[in-house]
């Protein structure tokens, strides 16, 4: 019997060594391992063995069977691995082929810049107010301390739609509308489109401004600079500082022009800052007492600060855009580049 088992083992090993595919493996199983296979036949022959030898032979057959099954599984696994390897090879792609993706849209750089600015000030507790684009003379000029025929009106070329109705020349009328509706403490940002009858390489007849207004007790010029420092550091980087210098706006007194230290050269002087180390970015000041009084706010009790920022100016500086016209040409090759 031992002899038979040894012969079968040799036969089995030889057959298994020739197995090259799952089909052959399955054939092998049928021949040797199935219920009708050669190993089962051995079991059937066990009856012919003497009673005394039977347990020992039975054990031998079982050991042989287990060993055969182990060999079978080993080959099966090997074949599986080969099969997976083949499949992997077949499925392999050129990963540098172009991606399939949905066309990407983009917000306009003005919107991105505006949102960024809003985020900075909203974090400081500013509300956002948007007033009408077509304004009356009263809100746009008179109540901002710019009387009729005030020379300051020459600073802003105005589009008229009626004698006293105009396209707003700045977002400052938003100050008046907010102060009419709300009493201090006030912290508000007024972004929006403004219009001036001016069109050349550096001017667009429509552009965007953002007005800021804070009215509360004991507001000072130091607060204006402190707040604007935070703003410019958020937009242009941690190291940027502001510089105030005297200016004139009818609705603020004192009035200041605010420059930022050049973020390109760090203040050493370069083409961007015209070798001065500073870049003019916005105007502001302490709200004129007449403006507060015009809105029923007692200038003895409250004071305010206000500032106005050109959004195009900030966007152009931020993205290195040198021609304002690009912002209104709406060329998709330009617009598609922006991300927030």
């Amino acid at each position: 019997m031992e002899e038979i088992i040894r012969a079968l083992r040799e036969q089995l090993d030889a057959a298994l060594a020739n197995v090259r595919s799952k089909e052959e493996l399955s054939e092998f199983w049928q021949t040797f391992m199935s219920k009708k296979g050669k190993i089962s036949d051995l079991m059937k022959n066990l009856g012919k063995v003497s009673k005394e030898e039977r347990p020992a032979v039975g054990k031998l057959i079982n050991e042989f069977k287990e060993a055969a099954e182990a060999k079978y599984r080993e080959v099966e696994q090997k074949l599986d691995a080969l099969e997976t390897e083949r499949r992997n090879r077949e499925e392999t792609v050129d990963i540098t082929l172009p991606a399939k993706k949905a066309a990407k849209g983009a917000l306009h750089p003005i919107t991105i810049t505006k949102n960024e600015m809003i985020n900075v000030f909203a974090g400081m507790g500013f509300d956002i107010y948007e007033g009408p684009e077509i304004e009356d003379d009263d809100h746009n000029f008179t109540r901002l301390n710019v009387a009729k025929n005030h020379p300051a009106r020459d600073m802003q070329d105005t589009f008229y739609v009626a004698e006293d109705i105009i396209l707003r020349t700045h977002t400052s009328p938003g100050q008046i509308r907010v102060m009419d509706a709300q009493k201090p403490p006030i912290k508000v940002l007024v972004p929006g489109r403004v219009f001036r009858s001016d069109s050349d390489a550096t001017h667009s007849p429509m552009f965007h401004q953002m007005e800021g207004l804070v009215v509360d007790k004991h507001i000072t010029l130091c607060d204006l600079q402190g707040m604007l420092d935070k703003f410019v550091q958020n937009i242009f980087g941690e190291k940027v500082r502001t510089r105030l210098r005297p200016s004139y706006f009818p609705f603020t007194e004192p009035s200041v022009e605010v420059d930022v230290s050049c973020f390109e050269c760090g203040g050493k002087g370069c083409g961007l800052c015209k070798h001065t180390g500073w870049i003019e970015v916005l105007g502001g000041g302490i709200v004129h007492r007449n403006v507060l009084a015009n809105c029923g706010i007692d200038p003895e009790e409250y004071s305010g600060l206000a500032f106005g920022i050109g959004i195009e100016r900030i966007a152009m500086l931020k993205y290195g855009i040198n021609n304002i016209g690009l912002l209104f040409e709406n060329d998709l090759r330009f617009l598609g580049q922006f991300r927030d």
Partner: protein, 804 residues
């Protein structure tokens, strides 16, 4: 405004360089737009003394030996100038020197004779007779004999000077003059101002006296007239002509030059009348009569009205006040006696007159900015002094000074130092505040915390109260002293976007997520844009707000529709070779409440979008619209678009939300397409889709709250149905019938349309996948069969649809 450095130095002892002064002016609020160095471009040009000079045979040239001091005692220079002579002192441009205009002089032979430089004319140095007398002589500039050989030529001819081109803010008309800037410079340097001489001697024997009446004191609060007799016209002195020339004004004659000089020096425009041309030898200042005419010095005739102020003699207008003198009364070579005018006219009135007549002059420019009565007085005294100094005539014993009675003192008020510091947020020491104000010519008396202040008479911009004083203090004290604080005393506020602002921001992001680029177009366009979109006469979009003063005809109406703007963007992109894309804009349209406009119009935010290129069709755009609806929790229905003249009648839809039309979209009408500004043969091939939605109407329909619907624990069962319908049957109607037939119907999805074969003529087969979503229990096959039967029954009954 232009201020020569040398002229400033006549009034202030300036001991810093022009560059340093530029920086100090800048930090005090006077931006120097340009600091012009008159010696710029002139290098290695010195005084040369011609020691030998002989003609070069056969040429027009002369060979000279020139003594150039330390640069060489014996330099050979050839010149073609015929006025050269031995002993002449003349500018010598040495080897490797430069002259204005980028001219570079190098040693080189002229007609074979070595020449180590060039002798120069005045013109070659950029000079004229006013800047340096004799400069316009033909030939070499003949310098005075006391000039030393080898001296830098700029020092000799006065080109070692600078012009400050200063931008003066609108609140500081008092600084629109050399004296005005001098006062600021003096304050910066803490030095006194040397006032120009004002004294003069009158001729007691003249009996004639200016006779002046002001009938419109509201427009002319001060008018000073003074007569000068026995005029002698002459050229004005070199110093005066030089200062005028540095500011860009050529010398004309002593009298004219004096008026110009005073305008630059003090900022007061003056006028000189020929006294003998004035009827009754008198002046009447009054409003013009309706239709009254005047011809000004430049021979232009104007028809006036009572809004214009005129200066008249006994009979007729002789000057347009504050703008220009009349042709009938100006001084001329025959003038014997004259009347000087120094007046204050109200700036608003002069501004209006200059604007309405289109006659903007140097004088009106000064008046529009504002002139103080102090300046008016000063100017007359100064003019008379100059008359005397230049010996132009005899000064009458008395002038005529008509005043509306304004105070002759500066504005007086009290300010507390603590108030000033409260505005600034820093502690400027009291003595510093007082010193600064005194430097700026304020009279200041300190009484503890209180300052009793008298502002200088010329500072009409100073308003009573602390803010103006705080500004004066800080601009001199220095803004670098401001220490940034972060709203340390302000109340804490919450801030952030409103719900509406957040929704609009979300809308933009949704459009971006669908491949649309946001565009920014102007708020105005022209009627031609509405024509382009075939908007009918009388359509609501034709009721537009018109600009009274547009920049150009193509930007003359406020837009009533965004679609034309976006179509223009599409066309411009196609022209630039961008043949496909998606764009959108969320912007206002303007709807007048009445025409003509008497109150603020309605501003309605609209969402406009466009898609163009081969990959786009009605349904890709419908996809954008659907996604939009879903994102805001809305449900849209679609009807064939009505009255949208710019959309294709068969490929466009009105968007209905809650039974209300909120917008339309679709393919651009062929009639519009064929007229687009694109290459003619290519127009038809462009695929352009356009849509516009009234965002305000839409946003009113946004659900206010959102609550979740429980998700069934049982899986949905789906069935595919192929239905045969008439060609004209709309898919939307079929899905409605299916959805309405059974409450368990969930998603209904069309997945195929088939025509031909066994499907009859005029019919189409449409295959739908219908999801049945159970809620309370799992659906059995029998349940679903029952639903399907009901659906088929309804389809047959309502739409005559059979199952295939």
């Amino acid at each position: 405004m232009k201020v020569p450095f040398s002229w400033l130095k006549q009034y202030v002892d300036i001991d810093i360089s022009a560059e340093e002064l530029e920086k100090k002016l800048f930090s005090c609020g006077f931006e120097v737009e340009e600091l012009i160095d008159l010696s710029a471009g002139i290098n290695r040009v010195v005084v040369g003394v011609v020691t030998e000079c002989e003609p070069i045979e056969g040429t027009h040239l002369s060979k000279c030996k020139v003594d150039c001091g330390s640069y060489g005692k014996d330099i050979q220079i050839c010149t073609g100038a015929s006025n050269v002579y031995v002993g002449m002192h003349t500018p010598a441009a040495l080897d490797d020197s430069t002259l204005p205009g980028g001219v570079h002089i190098k040693a080189k032979p002229l007609r074979g004779v070595d020449s180590f430089g060039m002798l120069c004319s005045g013109e070659e140095l950029g000079l004229n007779d006013d800047l340096f007398p004799g400069s316009e002589v033909y030939g070499l500039l003949d310098l005075p004999k006391d000039t030393e050989a080898g001296t830098d030529i700029c020092k000799v001819v006065g080109l070692d000077d600078y012009i400050f081109d200063i931008s003066v803010t609108a609140n500081r008309p008092d600084c629109q003059s050399v004296l005005g800037i001098s006062r600021e410079v003096a304050a910066i340097l803490g030095k006194p101002v040397k006032m120009p001489a004002l004294d003069y001697t009158v001729q007691g024997d003249i009996t004639e006296k200016a006779n002046i009446t002001v009938d419109a004191p509201d427009l002319c609060p001060r008018y000073i007239g003074h007569t000068v007799h026995d005029i002698t016209f002459a050229q004005s002195p070199a110093w005066m002509r030089r200062n005028l020339a540095l500011c860009g004004i050529r010398g004309i004659s002593n009298i004219v030059d004096i008026t110009n000089y005073i305008m630059l020096e003090l900022g007061q425009p003056m006028h000189a009348f020929d006294l003998d041309l004035l009827d009754e030898k008198r002046i009447v200042v009054r409003r013009a009569n309706e239709g009254e005419k005047i011809t000004t010095l430049d021979s232009k005739e104007f028809t006036l009205n009572p809004n214009n102020l005129v200066i008249c003699d006994g009979k007729k207008p002789v000057a347009l006040a504050g703008v220009m003198g009349g042709l009938n009364s100006g001084i001329n070579e025959n003038t014997k006696n004259l009347l000087f005018e120094s007046a204050k006219f109200m700036r608003d009135n002069i501004r209006k007159t200059a604007r309405s007549l289109g006659q903007n002059t140097d004088a009106s420019g000064f008046y529009e900015k504002g002139i103080s009565e102090y300046t008016t007085e000063l100017a007359m005294a100064r003019a008379l002094h100059l008359i005397q100094e230049l010996g132009c005539g005899k000064i009458a014993p008395a002038g005529c000074d008509v005043s509306a009675g304004a105070s002759r003192e500066g504005r007086k008020f009290d300010v507390k130092i603590t108030e000033i510091n409260n505005i600034l947020g820093i502690e400027v020491p009291a003595d510093e505040v007082v010193k600064i104000l005194k430097n700026l010519f304020f009279e200041v008396a300190q009484d503890g915390d209180t300052l009793h202040i008298v502002a200088p008479r010329w500072r009409e911009d100073i308003e009573i109260g602390a803010p103006d004083i705080a500004e004066e203090v800080i601009r001199e004290y220095g803004y670098e002293h401001i220490k940034p604080t972060f709203l340390k005393d302000a109340a804490v506020t919450s801030g952030g976007l409103t719900a509406d602002q957040r929704q609009r921001s979300k809308l933009k992001n949704i459009m971006c997520a669908q491949g649309c680029c946001e565009v920014s177009t102007l708020g105005f366009y022209s009627d031609a844009e509405l024509d382009m979109l075939r908007i009918a006469e009388g359509a609501p979009e034709r009721r537009v707000i018109r600009l009274i003063n547009p920049i150009s005809a193509n930007l003359s109406i406020m837009r009533s529709l965004l679609a034309p703007s976006l179509l223009n963007v599409v066309v411009n992109n196609i022209k630039r070779g961008n043949y496909e894309g998606r764009i959108f804009e969320l912007s206002n349209i303007y709807v007048p409440k009445q025409i003509p406009v008497t109150e603020l119009p309605d501003e309605i935010p609209h969402l406009c979008f466009a898609a163009f290129g081969d990959g786009e069709d009605f349904f890709t755009v419908k996809g954008i619209v659907e996604t939009l609806a879903e994102s805001f929790g809305l449900h849209f229905e679609y009807r064939r678009a009505e009255n949208v003249p710019y959309l294709h009648p068969g490929v466009s839809a009105d968007v209905i939300c809650d039974g209300k039309k909120v917008g339309s979209f679709g393919k651009l009408a062929n009639e519009v397409l064929k007229n687009l500004d694109l290459v003619k043969d290519s127009r038809d091939s462009f695929n352009i889709l356009l849509g516009e939605i009234d965002y305000r109407a839409l946003s009113e329909l946004f659900p206010k709250t959102m609550r979740y619907t429980p998700v069934s624990e049982f899986p949905a069962v789906s069935r595919d149905l192929a239905l045969v319908a008439d060609e004209a049957t709309l898919c939307g109607d079929i899905t409605s019938v299916i959805s309405d037939a059974c409450k368990y119907v969930g998603k209904v999805e069309l997945f195929d349309i088939y025509r031909g074969g066994q499907i009859g003529e005029g019919k189409k087969s449409m295959a739908f996948k219908i999801d049945f979503a159970p809620a309370e229990k799992a659906l059995s096959q029998e349940d679903v069969n029952g639903f399907v039967d009901k659906i088929l029954e309804n389809l047959k009954e309502k739409l005559n649809i059979e199952i295939r």
